[in-house]
Symmetry: D3
Subunit: 159 residues, 6 copies
């Protein structure tokens, strides 16, 4: 098993040197799931025009969070994302909203953290907007689904 | 069931008016769980001094994220936290790190989102620092455990 | 005519001392107008569900900008807004979107700049989302409409 | 008329993929105009050394705002500006300050929003610093004047 | 000697609970000194109008940094400064610029860090603006001069 | 002696155009020294596991500050650091902590300010965490030690 790259030989945290890495196109997709009461899901997903804003606000929050990832996660490198998309899909069969976030750039370091941060913050935003009616919502299954590019190449979560 | 307070009668999102609310002491505790490979958990929790930094970095990231909550979650009110604590406990029996975040203030609005944001960002930071050795880590059970203060008073998650 | 309060007797800019001011409820409403081609206005305001996102994104951007006002405007005091609302209304008769932003708090300093910043950033966001089809859009009539509270009391723009 | 590029086929807002775009030198100039009472203009523009700070503060605020554009405008890409300049010119003949902001970079996406944001925030800063003596100031004619670079090439506002 | 309040009994860093503290008026003054070549000092302090901007920019940078203190210093509480002033005085006798920063608020926690941060960032800004002609500048004597308010009351540096 | 590059011919501050500069690998190392009481130094450096957090928190604060440099220092260009490291070494012989910060990137502009900002904020964080026991701490000798890359090439402080 390799070592934790963010710690030097003394165990001190540092932002690792990526200047020797190749600039390649990198892409990552992460997910988060927000479980809620069936009534809550109905309120935010019902076709009714009026409720459309909950998912729109969460989408924007996720996109903006991806751009602030290096500000939030101490050892992340600042980077210039060339694409961020956040999709939110109500899943009535499991009383949940499924969030998929994809980030992309041409750079020296991967965008896994950006995708995970986007998915997490979109999920937190749904919690915020619905907490008045459903404090028991749970965010779970926040994980990386797939990544491409970089030295380690293609990686995909086990099905 | 009450309505989503963040949406007005047209379904438009707005930051709700809390100026009529009483200033009371408010406190909230939230959790997040990071599941990982047993070897990863061993690397970050082994008593060895050298590895101590992973949990210390995640703790700091969580504290700072609590302070930035209103910047990340679009409809959260800015507020002046009087306390933030983030505790990270390795749970070898479940191959996981348990994160507990507590926030407190005297104000007109609750601190649930601050506690949830602190726990989520601490979890994301653990992912970041260990992803070189374990891309399959999963963040789950992100939820509010307890809140005190405000009009709705004491609330606790169902055991 | 009174002097510029942000400059001291040497003409140096400083954040003025408001600690002697009374804590009162303060509210301010500002506007901005975005003029565009009739086709552009049609694209973003047509009742069609699909286009709803432009105004929703601008609304969120305006709300978040109000919270960041003291970060953007060098001599503004940090403050804890208790309410922010941003309303965007298509005005087909003048080929424009009218933006009204209202901010509120109980504090020692007014919220005019927060309302003006919210309206401006909402307007810039509309520009951003439509610039691919209409680079000639113009933002105008950005002004304070009304303020309440504080020593100077009620103020309203001349009709 | 082309479609709104920030909305996908479902009308959902996303940060568009620019990774296929060429890296070219891009430059944009935008303006804003702040109309005020003649006495206010006199106070900030009089040759007197003491008043010099108002325009200097507005210039700095505009420059810093250009750098924060992707943080303020939800769907803007983060980018590395290679130049920002903000010029403020008192126009006694029209009781106004004219603000010109120019941004430049070599990148995959244009800098129109950065220039417009710089001009707008410089204008808001003038309002802030003079509002104690002139609450009726109006910001207008915020618009793109010219852009160069990118696929769409040179564009200039109609005279 | 008392213990380090930012560390709990396990040595873990946390943002300490100030909710039990009294709200009092608190004020702090800190300094920084920037030593430079005599020619550099002459360039930025000569009465000539043209050079006025260096000190004006440093003053603004210091004021804005005070407002961002809790964002920069991990365990600082967010707070609402009611006053920030930054004064920069060329000291030809010692080839230096003396920076004095004063912060004030009514709150539950002191403003020493805000004053120290304002002084430090103003000093760094001078370095930035003059580094093309003088890379050897040194920032020194960054220290708290005086504080008032709070449980520990008045404190002054030893002369 | 060359002129101050951040000021134009009118003495106005602007972010200088670096688009014509070559992209080279640039690296800079800066230092800061925090002087304190011998007891304070003992508390934070004693081998005891429990106190380890003070230096870990300061290290993280320094790294994050490097990433925010262009946000703090008005005329700094935004840039994408490829490496940041901050080392803190207790120096019992001089009752001080020595801080060394190194930043690196491939870009068109140097990273001196990033290294100086990292060292300064790490020093301020030590002050914050120890101020309850030692208000008289002094930060000094904040200076650039060495830089490489760019047109001006290698530069090293005089010994």
């Amino acid at each position: 098993m390799s070592r934790l790259t963010h710690l030097d030989e003394k165990g001190h945290a540092n932002m690792v040197d990526v200047s020797g890495k190749a600039v390649t196109t990198r892409e990552a997709t992460a997910q988060a799931v927000v479980k809620m009461l069936p009534e809550t899901l109905h309120m935010i997903s019902a076709g009714e025009h009026k409720k459309g804003d909950v998912l729109a606000v969460a989408r924007i929050a996720g996109i903006q969070a991806a751009k602030r990832c290096s500000d939030l996660i101490p050892l992340c490198h600042p980077l210039m994302l060339s694409k961020v998309s956040v999709e939110l899909t109500p899943k009535p069969e499991s009383d949940a909203v499924l969030i998929l976030a994809t980030c992309k750039l041409a750079g020296q370091t991967g965008v896994e953290m950006e995708a995970l941060t986007a998915a997490s913050v979109a999920a937190l935003t749904i919690y915020d907007m619905c907490k008045a009616v459903d404090k028991g919502m749970v965010i779970s299954e926040v994980k990386l689904l797939e990544k491409r590019g970089g030295k380690s190449g293609h990686w995909q979560v086990n099905p």
